[in-house]
């Protein structure tokens, strides 16, 4: 449908236009104009996304076509084009919704910042890149969006570029993502090489042929499809911050809080999950990689959650929680429950953006102090922030009937039903993860909003609720955090032609959601059923532990840290990833570069190149001495030569 193409073009171009307007003329326009322009265009983009989602989901419209030919080489054509189906429509809706609210929120959050116009240009540019990513119909454009969001994320993490920590965080984020992109590009090259195209449709169609050809990488025993999927997944691991490429995400918190909500919680970091879902036909053909994804995801879900328990920076708690939730999404994708991972992606986008923006609201009130140990009792000063933050926390912990409960419960069930190798380990991880989630999220809530007021006396006098531009997005995000799960679970996961239509491809033997659908009797039953199942009790136990440790017995955590000091130091050092990377990659890399430069400048340049010069100089200065200018020397040499010559002729 040409109409869909046109609408999508509008959705994508509106933020780009906003970014260009605010960015190119940032020094000539007022703050009001900058946010007016970008918010207006984002509004347009969101409104059209709603229309597109309606068209796609209710009328079954879809589009897959070329916008223009990017490059043509030999018999290969690389295009820029759109694929508008259910998955894309849902993603566009999520992205534009969160982005719009973050734009509005930023008016309040960034109000005194010198780089105000630049900030709005960046977040609009980010939205453009993200939309390009989700609307792509080929790997090239996917990669374009993929790198585009990475760069804007880099620019935004380092937004306050006079802070050394921000600069280091942004560089680290970009470089770790580049490691992932390395894998991604190799994967794309493999796709091109074995499928002969970079467009999704022919590639998906070619999967059976590649599998049945039993193709292995030359010189190895590895199946081609598994290798391609593995390399592509390395890209997803960096972007979606899966262990061990997760190290950049906590440091991305150096950026302004609105972008933590938009980029590092709701949209960009879920690109990897989206990619795995989008490429489900490929991953279905690579069972070994599915196990890999499941194990990596589940491990991340549990172990990064544990770190969140010992963090004292409110944003870092939420950041580690994001890592843990991304682990859940990946685990679902590994278990072939792609719909569940997209569902969790969507609910997570709402409640995690809510938590980040709520944390931002707290940070504004606390005059940019982010330390939970200096907060406490904020409930009575900031009622709206408190209530919305509470809703986010309940949703995150998976307490029924909040939206997070539905999506997370679906993931846990899916992992339970999965029969692929590693599924039982993954099940234990995601189950224990519930307890951990309850613990760290309620810990943050209690430390910030309840209990003793630990801030300074002076600050206490200034505490107040944030302005409406800040709390309005909170309220708007709290609504989906409350009800989205209840209304969406059935069409998302269990109905044949639901919200995801035929975007996802799952082989019959992997169809865990199909098994779950047989037992599913509606959202109400699910809520009631939860009181007889483990995840809900684990979450409540976590919440109770948090209450006990931070409200009832505030000295309990300190004693715990002392008693289990080894555990505590492992967690506080984040399992040593940062130390290892710093020692091995950063310092090791610098040392290697220095040694290699020594080789280059001393051996190649000094010894060989300049050595050749010196040799010639030496030779000429030596041979010059023979040219003494004395006739008898020359005569002597002539005679010597003559004798040699005669001698040679005679014998």
């Amino acid at each position: 449908m040409e109409q869909l193409k046109f609408l999508t073009l509008l959705i994508i171009m509106a933020p780009l236009l906003g970014a260009m307007g605010a960015g190119l003329f940032c020094r000539h326009i007022s703050k009001t104009f900058a946010h007016g322009l970008t918010i207006g265009l984002m509004g347009v983009s969101f409104a059209i996304s709603v229309i597109v989602a309606y068209l796609v989901i209710h009328t079954g419209a879809s589009y897959n076509g070329v916008l223009y030919v990017w490059a043509q080489s030999g018999n290969l054509t690389l295009n820029v084009g759109f694929m508008i189906d259910h998955l894309t429509a849902l993603m566009m809706l999520t992205v534009t919704f969160v982005s719009l609210l973050v734009h509005i929120y930023s008016v309040g959050y960034m109000t005194e910042d010198g780089g105000y116009q630049r900030f709005f240009a960046y977040i609009s540019l980010f939205t453009f890149s993200m939309l390009m990513l989700v609307s792509a119909n080929n790997f090239l454009q996917l990669f374009f969006g993929w790198e585009g969001v990475g760069v804007v994320s880099y620019l935004l993490i380092g937004f306050w570029f006079d802070r050394e920590s921000a600069n280091q965080g942004s560089l680290k984020a970009f470089l770790v993502n580049r490691v992932g992109d390395f894998g991604f590009v190799v994967g794309i090259a493999g796709v091109l090489s074995y499928f002969g195209s970079l467009d999704y449709a022919p590639v998906f169609a070619g999967v059976p042929a590649v599998i049945s050809a039993h193709a292995v990488l030359p010189g190895t025993h590895w199946s081609v499809l598994s290798c391609i999927c593995l390399f592509l997944f390395i890209g997803a691991m960096a972007k979606s911050a899966q262990m061990p490429l997760h190290v950049w995400l906590p440091e991305s918190m150096e950026g302004p809080t609105p972008i933590s909500a938009l980029i590092h919680a709701a949209t960009m970091v879920t690109a990897g999950v989206f990619m795995v879902a989008r490429l489900s036909p490929l991953y279905q053909g690579a069972p070994a990689i599915q196990t890999f994804i499941l194990v990596i995801g589940a491990t991340g879900a549990l172990f990064t959650g544990l770190i969140a328990i010992v963090q004292n920076d409110i944003k870092r708690v939420v950041a580690y929680s994001t890592l843990s939730q991304l682990g859940y999404m990946m685990a679902a994708a590994g278990a072939s429950a792609y719909a569940a991972s997209i569902f969790h992606l969507m609910t997570h986008a709402a409640f995690k953006a809510l938590l980040f923006l709520g944390a931002g609201s707290v940070i504004i009130a606390m005059h940019h102090d982010q330390d939970l140990r200096n907060m406490g009792g904020l409930k009575k000063y900031m009622p709206i922030t408190y209530i919305t933050f509470l809703i986010g926390t309940l949703s995150l912990s998976g307490i029924p009937p909040f939206s997070g409960f539905f999506s997370k419960d679906a993931i846990i069930e899916a992992v339970k039903f999965s029969t692929i190798p590693g599924a039982s380990y993954a099940y234990i991880c995601v189950l224990l993860g519930c307890f951990v989630t309850g613990l760290y999220s309620f810990r943050a809530l209690f430390m910030a909003f309840h209990g003793e007021e630990r801030m300074s006396h002076e600050l206490k006098h200034h505490l107040q609720e944030s302005p409406w531009v800040v709390w309005l997005p909170l309220v708007l995000l709290a609504i989906p955090s409350l009800i989205q799960g209840y209304f969406m679970i059935e069409p998302m996961l269990f109905s044949a032609q639901g919200y995801l239509g035929s975007s996802i491809n799952v082989l019959p033997q992997n169809n865990v959601l199909g098994l779950m659908a047989e037992e599913f009797k509606g959202p109400w039953h699910m809520i009631l059923g939860s009181f007889t199942s483990l995840p809900c009790y684990f979450a409540l136990l976590g919440a109770f532990t948090a209450w006990f440790a931070y409200i009832k017995q505030p000295d309990f955590p300190g004693r715990c840290a002392q008693r289990f000091s080894v555990m505590y130091s492992i967690l506080i050092n984040k399992y040593g990833f940062d130390m290892f990377n710093d020692w091995f990659f950063v310092r090791g890399g610098q040392r290697t570069a220095a040694i290699m430069y020594l080789g280059d400048s001393q051996i190649i340049d000094n010894f060989f190149v300049n050595g050749a010069g010196r040799l010639i100089t030496w030779m000429s200065s030596t041979s010059r001495r023979m040219q003494t200018g004395y006739l008898y020397h020359y005569a002597f040499i002539m005679i010597l030569g003559l004798i040699v010559l005669l001698g040679w002729l005679m014998f």
Binding site: G74, F143, G158, V179, Y597
Partner: protein
């Protein structure tokens, strides 16, 4: 269009303009010299418009051909012509020179007339290299061009300019000497020095290998390939900004052009035979040189090493073709890398050229190339910081910028030869990001700690203009590379045909 000798004009207009410019007077009349230079460069740029619009990209034959006897006794002709590969190089040269003339408007205050003249004459000679169809004519331009560059580094260069300029001259000159021998040998097998007629000479494997190696010395030094690259960091570091730009954007390209025009079609079997070695050398440049670049503390030296690493992709593109054809037997598969290599040549000119200009902008203000002397420049020069970020990202190979296209196509295509090549080549994604963005961070980000930085002023009009044009080109190629691919597609096809047909 055959009546107007367009190609000759593009060669001789700048040379004559340069000679006029030289006599424009001493530095009191510097503005006059600058205006003459700008006018000449602009006129030349305008001459490229009919060249491009009348160029027929559906044929691989030489176009706009001019052929006059030069030294009839030896069969040497003054023969010019362009195909899809060289026409873009010609246009690239004129654009670059135009930009360099504007960019040198203020920084050069000493011997302005001579400086401008050197660049204009160099421009004419470089175009001559790309247009020549006669091997001796080619050789004359090829060597002649060294003189203005030698003077440029030696007269307007940095503190170690004498060392750098002599090293540059001797190194590249020695490399080319063997090429002359190879050309003379080919002459003995042919009636004249016409390059195109060299293509049809039958040569034994033995001959081909010798000829290939003789050519390789000339071209590998120019490109430069590892391990004959060490003249380049010195030359770049000491050259004035304009010199660095021409060096990076054009002079290095002549090496690759030589491989495309001579090595591959004249000695296809030797190229096939030695492709493995060439690929290994290219990968060493891509990986090893990139790691060396990380450790640099001098901005220009860092960019010079990065330039070598990026040029490694172009040589990889040329020779991986043989591995692909050997494995799949399908010429269509080889298009991707070779066309990627062509795009890489052109895009490297813009992004690296822009990086060098950027360093020139900084040098002009602080008179230092040491990274450690900067810090927090983004506070003082926000506009320039934005431009430099774009060029840095192009250098990193971000999709949407020109730097992405070539490397991406080459990485994609090389998988058909061997995934091992792809794995090594793709490390550029990480390594280029490390050295480029780390450089950016240290120069532009952070707080201003030095009072010299405190007094830095943002871009002035000429700088703004030049960087603006480059930014446009970088983005245009990145978003619509097909504009370039269309132009050389047929010619690349013909070249592939020649380069993979055995001559034994």
């Amino acid at each position: 269009m055959t009546q107007i000798p367009l190609l000759s004009l593009i060669i001789w207009v700048p040379i004559i303009g340069g000679i006029i410019c030289m006599f424009a007077g001493d530095d009191r009349k510097a503005t006059r010299a600058r205006c003459i230079a700008l006018f000449t460069a602009f006129l030349n740029l305008m001459l490229c418009i009919p060249l491009y619009t009348h160029f027929d990209n559906s044929t691989s034959a030489m176009q706009f051909v001019e052929n006059v006897d030069w030294i009839a006794k030896f069969g040497i002709h003054y023969q010019l012509g362009v195909d899809g590969i060289s026409v873009l190089m010609v246009i690239l040269s004129t654009i670059t020179t135009f930009l360099v003339v504007i960019a040198s408007w203020k920084p050069i205050q000493k011997n302005v007339a001579q400086y401008m003249a050197a660049f204009l004459i160099m421009q004419g000679m470089m175009v001559g290299v790309f247009e020549s169809l006669d091997a001796i004519l080619f050789y004359v331009f090829w060597e002649g061009m060294l003189i203005p560059m030698y003077l440029c580094i030696g007269m307007w260069g940095g503190p170690r300019r004498t060392y750098a300029s002599i090293k540059f001259f001797l190194y590249t000159f020695l490399g080319s000497a063997l090429m002359l021998i190879a050309l003379l040998y080919l002459r003995t097998k042919s009636n004249d020095f016409n390059i195109l007629s060299f293509y049809s000479i039958k040569l034994t494997m033995h001959e081909q290998v010798y000829i290939f190696i003789a050519f390789l010395f000339a071209f590998a030094v120019k490109i430069p390939m590892w391990p004959v690259h060490t003249w380049l960091p010195d030359a770049h570091t000491e050259a004035p900004a304009g010199g660095s730009v021409v060096l990076a954007a054009l002079m290095l390209k002549m090496g690759i052009y030589g491989i495309l025009r001579f090595s591959m079609p004249i000695t296809p079997d030797a190229s096939q035979h030695l492709a493995g070695l060439m690929i290994v050398l290219s990968l060493i440049a891509i990986v090893y040189i990139a790691i060396v670049a990380i450790g640099q503390s001098d901005m220009k030296r860092l960019i010079a090493y990065s330039s070598v690493a990026h040029m490694g992709f172009t040589t990889l593109a040329c020779f991986v073709v043989y591995k692909i054809v050997a494995r799949t037997g399908d010429l269509q598969d080889a298009y991707l890398t070779l066309e990627g290599g062509m795009v890489q040549m052109l895009s490297h000119a813009f992004s690296t050229g822009a990086m060098f200009l950027g360093v020139g902008v900084l040098y002009e203000r602080l008179h230092s190339r040491e990274i450690g002397d900067y810090g927090g420049v983004a506070h003082k020069m926000p506009l320039f910081a934005a431009f430099f970020m774009l060029f840095a990202l192009a250098n990193v190979g971000l999709p949407g910028t020109s730097g992405f296209v070539g490397e991406f196509l080459i990485i994609l295509g090389s998988f058909k030869a061997s995934y091992v090549i792809t794995l090594f080549a793709a490390t550029t994604l990480v390594l280029s990001a490390v050295y480029t963005l780390w450089l950016y961070k240290r120069v532009f980000f952070g707080v201003v700690t030095r009072k010299e930085v405190e007094s830095m002023k943002d871009l002035e009009l000429p700088e703004y203009l030049v960087l603006g044009i480059l930014a446009f080109l970088v983005l245009f190629i990145g978003l619509y590379p097909n504009a370039l691919l269309k132009t050389f597609h047929t010619s690349i096809g013909h070249l592939l045909e020649l380069s993979t047909t055995s001559k034994l």
